[in-house]
Amino acid sequence: MKTAFRVYTSMFGIRFNYNLQYRAAVLGAIAKGFCWAMMEILGYLAVYRFGGDALPMDFSSTTAYVWAHQSFIVLFSVVFADTEIYSAIRTGTVVYDLARPVGLYGKWFCESASNRLSFALVNCFPVLILGLLAPAPFKLTLPASSPQLCLFLVSALLAFAVTVAIAMLMYISLFYFISQRGIRIIVRSVTTFFSGGVIPLVFFPESVQQVIRFLPFAAMQNMPLQILCGTITDADAVKGIGFQVFWLTALVFMGQSAMKTATKKVLSLGG
């Protein structure tokens, strides 16, 4: 157990240094996140100018939502440039991975998690700081109470894990499909939409919300972002975290058993 842990942490370290190497790319990503959030907020500003009362979130909450969404976008995206994993499946080098004395599920889970986290730490969190420094209508305001902030952190961590767990299911499905690109695009658009990446889930019509709030996608970025901008508070937030724990367990369990079935098939193909 202890060695396994060391394996995983050193894998993370390697990733992290790798991502730090490209400074200009980092600056570019920060600029992009900042501009994107500003445009998004300008758009919402126009929406609120006209019929803001009709929307279930006030303007400053929406601003906080947009900033947090842009800052954590990599952390909470199912489809990310996990090139090693994609090519391992496509070219068949996955058999080498299977020969290693580390469980494949754990290895890939850890690789995708560290891919996202190391990228997010360098590229995305600065966007959050820029958001805090932005002038008045665009400014990001954090919740005043520290319990709410703690709930946010717990929920964000869980949402991150759920995101990676869904990504794992997608990788496993790639054992069966040839079209990686097609699957990736479909998965990206579905997960982004139902996790509140296009518009916050509370903006959906009531009847639609009744259904989608129980989907695993609602356990992704939707939950921490809503806690951060204050639409879900206290007891509801705790309930929400329980909901996330439930989906995380279910998804990891599903992923592991699917991985077993899938790798059995791969072995039979290997020459």
Binding site: Y22, A24, A25, L27, G28, A29, A31, K32, C35, W36, M39, E40, L42, G43, A46, V47, R49, F50, G51, A54, L55, P56, F177, I178, S179, R181, G182, I183, R184, I185, I186, R188, S189, V190, T192, F193, V198, I199, F203, F204, P205, V208
Partner: protein
């Protein structure tokens, strides 16, 4: 010309080889813009308009920009291979052939799955045409066609500009995405809603407002001046700096070859 047509057909055929794969990708593209559409739809369930534009008029903007983008990207998206061509030294092989370099890069890299995006945009256009409150006289229809065609030229030029940037920097400048993929998303609202500054930038620097906001005003009968109707043609001026930049990049090119 025959040669390019052959390139084109070969690529189309090769992409059609894996039919499931092709249609799955196309479906994915369709779905992506579909979610953007639903984002607008759900928001406008609660509000009635944005500034002084109605839901139908917003949809008109959305579909025009989406169609322009999909055509522009289908042709120009493939230029994203430029950095790889440079690094791998494959550009040298293309340079020695006595044919247009640009077309040799574009033709084999066309991405036909973008048609999924186009299809979705056309469906939305179908809904927007009656809902927008525009009187569809012949000149107005022509203005609409002009918007889409000139728009796709502008998007193509943007892809060309960013691909050419590879001549000058080794690193990928992914923040330029905000002008391609970003404008695809932000173009869903008439560009005036983002405020004076943004509108001015998108008129004089990157002329996307010229294919969306100004001709829209003409279509809605808010401006009679023919200049507004012909604004998309002015957007074509964007071709000049793009091509100059591309030429400069090509001259600047030193092979990485061994």
């Amino acid at each position: 010309m025959r040669l390019y047509l052959n390139y084109f057909l070969m690529e189309l055929k090769s992409q059609m080889q894996y039919k499931t794969s092709f249609f799955l990708t196309m479906f994915g593209q369709f779905l992506t813009s579909f979610t953007t559409f639903f984002g607008i739809r759900f928001l406008f369930d609660r509000i009635y308009g944005i500034d002084d534009f109605t839901y139908g008029q917003v949809l008109l903007c959305f579909s025009v920009v989406m169609m322009s983008f999909s055509l522009g990207e289908m042709a120009g998206g493939g230029l994203a291979v430029f950095p790889d061509l440079l690094r791998g030294g494959e550009l040298d092989r293309i340079l020695v052939r006595p044919r247009s370099i640009l077309l040799q890069v574009i033709m084999p890299n066309m991405d036909f799955s973008r048609l999924g995006l186009l299809a979705q945009a056309m469906i939305v256009l179908g809904a927007a045409v009656p809902a927008s409150g525009v009187v569809w006289t012949l000149p107005n229809v022509l203005v609409l066609v002009l918007m889409v065609l000139c728009g796709s030229v502008v998007f193509f030029c943007l892809f060309l500009l960013f691909a050419t940037a590879a001549f000058f920097t080794v690193q990928s400048l992914n923040f330029l995405d905000i002008f391609t993929y970003g404008m695809r998303d932000f173009g869903r609202y008439p560009l005036s809603v983002y405020g004076e500054g943004v509108l001015r930038f998108l008129t004089f620097v990157i002329p996307l407002a010229l294919i969306q906001y100004y001709p829209l005003l003409y279509l809605l009968g808010r401006k009679d001046n023919a200049l507004y109707a012909l604004a998309p043609l002015f957007a074509l001026l964007f071709v000049i700096p793009s091509v100059l930049f591309y030429r400069a990049g090509l001259r600047n090119y030193k092979s990485t070859g061994s």
